[in-house]
């Protein structure tokens, strides 16, 4: 990921966020068997593999008329929940929090980024200790994933038609054991750490606000259909219901063969690095033509939960409380599992059809649009949460949420640390769209 910021007197006037990697998954998927989609799409992203698996499964099931047994729903929720927890813990400790403390004197942390560190020596030491604890705990979260998912990342458990693993007391016991371990870490270590950072950096709670549009497509349904994360839209401060038909993608400023704003079930993906207006590989997804912020903060706002603000640390705060919420929800789902009951129903209604799979995942809204003809994938389009947050500008020049959040930011550090904090608070997954910052350019433009 490349961040180009135009600075004027230490204030960011304009910012371009560019993804520098194209892999062409949407082209690769064409012509394959729809049953492979959950496995193949997982390979898009290593940290949120099960998110793609579940969304692809939803789409394939809808297209081919498959029914998921209730047990299968629960097992899939458990797999995804453990992966979301894993992602959140890793993101917080590995990527986000190291911006706020000094870290250990070990190789990957050296050289330290020294500017604007406000934690004391003692707090720094305990955060460092927690950093390594968090590695262990996120490992445990992935182990919980593997209980029902086979392996992690890129698990095998989620397949079209349900989940492949049978349910018995042994697995429930193990999953529960891991989840209790995680829950105690979250309550005793993670949440206090986040609160400490918020206490030390109160200005970041509202620094890096988005555009005020929030979106959630809902997720983690229980067998009765009630969602842990409800669906909804907040567009220009107005609450409305979500309809996937209003989602469009534009490629005016991305390196693709140009087409106007199109619904994902109609558009194509033809890379063209020579596009003069292009500056990134991420398309610009919009809802009713507006950029939307997605992620834990958006989910919390739509669910009318408590939020502490709308900026960088507010996102991190929402993310950390979501871990607790999910971990507690998994315990409820575990209780509802029926040992021995079927988890998988592979009966196929038809061999053709088109569908959309939408699910709330780690970073927000993930959508897979596909159409299947005679057992072969004819069309596949994916919109990732990071594309919503960090897409290219659209035809009218409207900036994405990520780019807008940087505007007006005061930069004092040499290495644009302030911008890095804000960008990382979105949890950008830049292999589904972008990577973490690996090069950046500071250009001071003088505007007369």
């Amino acid at each position: 990921m490349l961040l180009e910021a135009w600075l004027e007197n230490g204030v960011i006037k304009d910012a371009y966020i560019s993804d520098t990697l194209y892999r062409g998954f949407e082209q690769i998927l064409i012509g394959r068997s729809p049953m492979d989609m959950p496995y193949y799409t997982q390979r898009i992203c290593g940290i949120c593999s099960s998110a793609h698996a579940i969304t692809a499964s939803l789409a394939v099931e809808q297209a081919l008329g498959m029914q998921v047994p209730p047990n299968g729903h629960l097992v899939r929720n458990l797999i995804l929940a453990s992966d979301v927890i894993q992602n959140h813990i890793r993101h917080l400790y590995l990527y986000a929090l190291p911006d706020y403390f000094r870290g250990p004197d070990l190789a990957p942390f050296i050289p330290h980024s020294e500017s604007d560190l406000r934690v004391s020596k003692q707090e720094n030491d305990s955060l460092t200790e927690h950093y390594f604890q968090a590695l262990e705990i996120s490992r445990a979260a992935h182990a919980a994933f593997a209980v029902f998912g086979g392996k992690a990342p890129h698990g095998h458990g989620i397949v079209p038609g349900g989940a492949s693993m049978e349910v018995d007391a042994d697995k429930v016991n193990r999953y529960r054991g891991y989840m209790m371990e995680i829950l105690s870490f979250v309550e005793n270590t993670l949440l206090p750490d986040v609160d400490l950072i918020i206490k030390r950096y109160p200005d970041y709670v509202d620094l890096g606000e988005g555009v005020g549009n929030y979106m959630s497509v809902g997720g983690f349904l229980n067998p009765e259909g009630a969602a842990l994360f409800p669906q909804g839209i907040i567009l220009q401060d107005k609450r409305e219901s979500f309809n996937q038909r209003y989602i469009t993608e534009d490629v005016t400023r991305a390196w693709y063969k140009p087409h106007g704003p199109l619904h994902p079930s109609e558009e194509d993906t033809i890379p063209d690095h020579s596009q003069p207006k292009g500056y990134t590989w991420v398309k610009s997804p919009r809802y009713r033509g507006q950029p939307m912020e997605v992620g834990p903060l958006a989910r919390a706002i739509i669910n009318q939960e408590k939020v502490i603000g709308h900026g960088a640390l507010a996102r991190i705060w929402a993310r950390s409380y979501e871990i607790k919420k999910l971990a507690e929800a998994t315990l409820g789902w575990l209780n509802r599992l029926e040992p021995g009951a079927e988890t998988l129903n592979r009966k196929i209604g038809s061999d053709s059809g088109s569908a959309v799979g939408l699910h709330e995942v780690m970073r927000g809204v993930l959508g897979h649009w596909l159409s299947v003809k005679k057992g072969r994938v004819q069309h596949y389009q994916i919109i990732t949460p990071s594309a919503f947050n960090f897409g290219a500008r659209d035809e009218s020049g409207t900036r994405s949420v990520g780019e807008s959040s940087l505007l007006g930011l005061k930069v004092q550090s040499e290495d644009l640390k302030e911008a890095g904090r804000i960008i990382r608070s979105f949890d950008p997954c830049f292999s589904c769209s972008v990577h973490l910052i690996d090069g950046e350019r500071i250009q001071a433009l003088r505007i007369e």
Binding site: Y22, G31, A143, K151
Partner: protein, 333 residues
Amino acid sequence: MIETGTCTGDSISFDNIWTPTFSDILSNILDWRYDWSMNQAQGSAAYQVLLDTYSKLPNEYILIVQGSMIHSDSGHYDHVAYEQGKLITGIDLVRRIGLKAKYVVAIGSCAAFGGPVAGYPNPTRSTGVQDVLPERRVINVSGCPAHPDWIMGTLLHLALYGEPELEKYGRPKMFYGETIHNRCPRRYYYDQGIFATDIGQKECLYRVGCKGPVTYADCPIRRWNDRLNWPIGCNTPCIGCTEPGYPDLMSPFTVHSPDIPLPGGTKIATDSVALGVLGFTSAAIIGHAAASLYKGRIQRNLLKSTVRGKHRFSLTKVKTFHTYRVKKNAKKE
């Protein structure tokens, strides 16, 4: 560690290592210099670490590459760094750092053989690291993702004992020496001919496309994530993620033989090709036989090739093997 066309799954998998703990690895075993996901410094400061290692410790560092080498548009589909006003492509960086590295380790199937990114039609023309560094040996630690033990075991071997013994595709023999099938706990079912008819069943998954017989890895005895479970333990077939040719030769993952891509973007299953060929031959033979009967060709050929001579011998078998002689008392007709 340089990441190119990757999903970061191998980093995540590496973070899942069970023993030794990650803090032990960082503080006592390895001097982990450069990693996108771990570096605290960002941008050029982080990149400087990589360049310092490159220039100050030539032939002493290990280069770990994750992700495939993207060749499209001479590598410009993948930029990994920014240096002196220029964007550096993944291939350039890997070649530059790799030529001076003591060892080059490619982790994950993408870095080893191209992997899912190189799936048909391979829009980015991706290959493994070995193809961009033909001058030197690349140690492949394949897998999608690679098991943390495979990564760490290989690195530890490199640090302590030098290069491990490699097998045919440049993978350490200690991890990739035997097929999944040979050590599979469900081998009993296979040997007895008891097969699952769909995924999600307890028996041998060979009939639903398990690629265990052609996949070299030690998953059955090592297992994944705290050694809890693994793909076949999850009642799903092995998809052959450690092998070259994955995923095209392995997909559809639930079918035995791979799909064959046809020009024009469509794909066709091997089994339909086979059935088509056999069906065509049988139809052709039956049609030809009918036509021959109708035209009288069969009748004529048979008559011609079996018509009697003027003289019919009476042969008698002699004790010697396969020798006949004319009967003495045979009369001429």
